[in-house]
Symmetry: C2
Subunit: 146 residues, 2 copies
């Protein structure tokens, strides 16, 4: 019971793409695998490196175009953790938040419940609907604090 869905997620996505008139290509398959095999958030460059290792001629623009498609279909979430580079993760893995250590780059995941009080405050006091899917909190982790 590793996956959220009953079928393998890759198969689901392939089916979904086909149904919508998109095509399954080796490039797309490998890009999907790269995203799904990554626990952490992965960047376009990292996806590309991983794909190229097996299938040398894939261009990074194909990665970007595939990510754009997957975003549009709601299969992948794009997160701007700063640093001028987007990061991606499978939407099915649910949303979590990030404590990013500015020293060592490690990220700690938080779940929704820990930010719920904040969300409530923002809504009540500022009538602001916070999109906490895309939240990254910078700082320093234990190991780096000294």
């Amino acid at each position: 019971m590793e996956d959220v869905n009953h079928n393998g997620p890759a198969k689901d996505i392939a089916t979904l793409l086909t149904q919508k008139g998109y095509r399954i290509t080796p490039q797309r398959t490998m890009i999907l695998e790269a995203i799904q095999s990554s626990d952490q958030h992965i960047s376009a460059e990292e996806i590309h490196a991983q794909v190229v290792a097996k299938y040398p001629n894939v261009n990074i623009s194909t990665v970007y175009r595939t990510l754009e498609l997957l975003k549009k279909l709601g299969l992948v979430t794009e997160t701007d953790l700063g640093g001028g580079r987007f990061r991606y993760h499978p939407a099915e893995k649910g949303h979590h938040h990030h404590l990013v250590c500015q020293e060592c780059g490690n990220t700690i995941d938080l779940d929704n419940s820990e930010l719920y009080p904040l969300k409530e405050v923002l809504l009540k006091k500022h009538k602001f609907i916070a999109d906490l899917q895309h939240l990254a909190i910078m700082g320093r982790c234990v190991n780096c604090k000294k």
Copy 2:
């Protein structure tokens, strides 16, 4: 009592620069004015536009180089609000946080007290020292929510 310091901030900064062996140029003076006159966080491009209005030949690389210097001296804080563009504000103005509307781009400022509970939780549960100076929370404001 507008300023945190007793002397005008611009004068302080000029003195400080001179003491450290840096030079006061018209470009630097105007860049400093642009940063200080902005309540909100200002981008390099916005600073440049404001400076060029009065002093047409200033190059944007001068803006970047001045910002780098001011950062190094701790006079200006650089914030990565995402969108692949840094924003700057005077360090003396203290830190506040941002609710950024993804629809209209408006920002609502929060002060430290509203995020204090969160900071405490992160410290206690995750031993993570959150640098909330650099926090931006994305979402939708009242006007855009519908």
